[in-house]
Subunit: 317 residues, 2 copies
Amino acid sequence: MSPDLLVAGVDVGGTNIEVGLVSADHQVHGRAKANTPTGGPAEVLDTIAELVQSLGDRPIAVGVGIPGVVDQGRVLTVPNLQNWTEKVDLVDELGTRIDVPIALGNDANVGLLGEWVAGAAVGVRNVLGLWMGTGIGGGLILDGRPFTGSHGCAGEIGHMVVRQGGALCTCGRRGCAEAYAGRRSMRGIATAMVDAGRSTSLFAIRDEEQKGNLTSKVWARALDEGDEMAGELFDTAIETLGVAVGSVVNLLDLDLVVIGGGLAEKMGSTLADRIADACTPWMLQPNPDLQFVVSTLGDDAGVVGAATLGRALAVSA
Amino acid sequence: MSPDLLVAGVDVGGTNIEVGLVSADHQVHGRAKANTPTGGPAEVLDTIAELVQSLGDRPIAVGVGIPGVVDQGRVLTVPNLQNWTEKVDLVDELGTRIDVPIALGNDANVGLLGEWVAGAAVGVRNVLGLWMGTGIGGGLILDGRPFTGSHGCAGEIGHMVVRQGGALCTCGRRGCAEAYAGRRSMRGIATAMVDAGRSTSLFAIRDEEQKGNLTSKVWARALDEGDEMAGELFDTAIETLGVAVGSVVNLLDLDLVVIGGGLAEKMGSTLADRIADACTPWMLQPNPDLQFVVSTLGDDAGVVGAATLGRALAVSA
C-alpha cells in the first residue's frame, strides 16, 4: 500500500466533531468540523459520515475517537454526549454509511496515541496520557506499546477513587478524580457555590465569550483574571489529579505524563508543572526521570491518533 | 542448556527466608529456610548465600524476591526488614558470595510471576497480583508479559491513595491502601484501640500461638473465632482493597486478580470472593469476565517466581 494513501481521523468531542485526512507521516491534509449533534447516536454517525465525505478524497480507512467506554468496536457508554444512552455498534453502523474499514477507540486513548506517534511522547516507553475536558480521560503506553486492556476499556484514570466516600461523580460513584477535576463536575460545584451566596466571574465570562458552557477558555480567563472561586476549584482539581497521577506512577513506574485537552492548550507548561508538583508528594520513590509535559499536537492529537488506529486496521486487513 | 539445570529461587520475607532449587518445569526439588536476620543487609545476604549452599546442587543462577522497591539490581528501600535502611546493590553484593548470575525482583512481582508461569494465572493476559502481608504488595502481567515499569518499581498497589488525607501509612504518606490493609498498619490500629479500652483476643491468640507478631495465622484464627475488633479491622481492610483494586481495574481493564500471601493461603477462596465483592461497586463497567482467585502455589509462589527470574537471566547471559 502506498504510504500516501489518506486515512480519516475523527475526534468526537462533547462540543465539536473534528475530522482530518491524515497521511502516513501523520500530517493533516484537510479538515472539517461541525457542532456535535445533541439528538443521539444516529445524528452523530450521520454527521461523521458527512464530514468525512466533505473532505473530497476517499480515505482508505476511518478511525474514530469517542468520549466514552468502547469495547471491541462497540460504544458502551458515552456519559458526556447528549441523548446517547444506549450501546451502539459504531463500527457496524458507521460502516453502513462509509464503506471502508472503521476503527474505534476512546478519545483519550486515541489522543495519547497521536502524541505517541507524532507529538510529545514519540519513542517514550511508559506514558500516561491525562486528558482534561468535560470529563477526565486517560491513555497508556506501556513497554513501548499502546495498552488498552482486555476489552479496550483501559485508561480510565478519571474513575480512580482518590477520596473514598468523597464527592459524587457523574458516573454515580463517590470520590473519583473526575468528581473534582472534570469540567462538568466543576461546573456543578461552581453552580452550588453561587447558589450558596459565593460570587464568581465564571458565568459572566461564559456569557461574554458567548459560550454555552464553562469551557476551557472560560476557565483559563477566570483563572488569569484572579477569580477567587475559580482559583479554589482549580486548586482542588490539580490537587486531586496529583493524587491520582501519583497513585498511577506508584503502580506503573512511568517515564512521562502527557496532559491534553483544551486547558492544556491554553495553559501550556504551567499546567504540566502544577500537576507535577501536586503529584510529587504522593510518589513512593523520587523519580527524577519522570517528565510532565502538555500535548504538542493540541486539537490535532485526537485526529492524528484516530487516523493511526484506522491506518493500522487498513494495513492489517 | 539442559532444561534440568536447577536455579535457586529465594523468597525474602519479613519473618523467614525461603530458598528452593527449581527445575525448568517449575518444580521445587529441594528447600531450605531460616529466620530473616534482624541485623541489616549483610546478615541477610550471608543467610541467603548459606541457604543456597546448603541445598547441595550448585544452581546455574539465583533469583531473589525482596519485600522492597528494587531498581535494576539495586534494593532502594525495604521498609519491612529490620535495620535495612540503606540502598544496597544486591546483585553485586550477593555475587561476591555466590558466583553465578543473580536476578532481583520485588517479592510481590516475583510471587505473581510464579503464579503466572505455574499457578493460578497461567496463560492469562492481564493480571493483577495482590499480595497481602506485612505490607500490601502488587505485581502486574499486561498484554501477556510481566510488567515492571521503567525502573522495575511497578506494582505498588499498596501505595495507591484511596483516602486522600486518610490514615498515616508506614511510607509516611496518608491514605494509602496499605495504611488500612497491611498487617503492620492493622497491628498499629489494634494496639491503639486496645489502649483506648477496646478488647480483642488478637494479642492473646498471638501469645498462645507463640508468635512474635500478629501473623496471618493469628488474624485468621481471631476472625474464625468471631473476634469483634479483628472483624471490624478486617472489614475495613477488605473495603479499602476493594477501592484500590476497583481503581486499578478501571485503569487497566484486567482479566484476573490473584491474591497471595499468608492470609490467602489460610482463608482461600473466601478471601478472593470478599475482595471481588468489595471491588465490584467501584468498577466503571461491569466486567463479568473478571475473575478473583487466590494463589495456588502458596508459599512456593515466591520461590518459583524468583527462580524464573534467575533462569531468564542465565538463559539470556
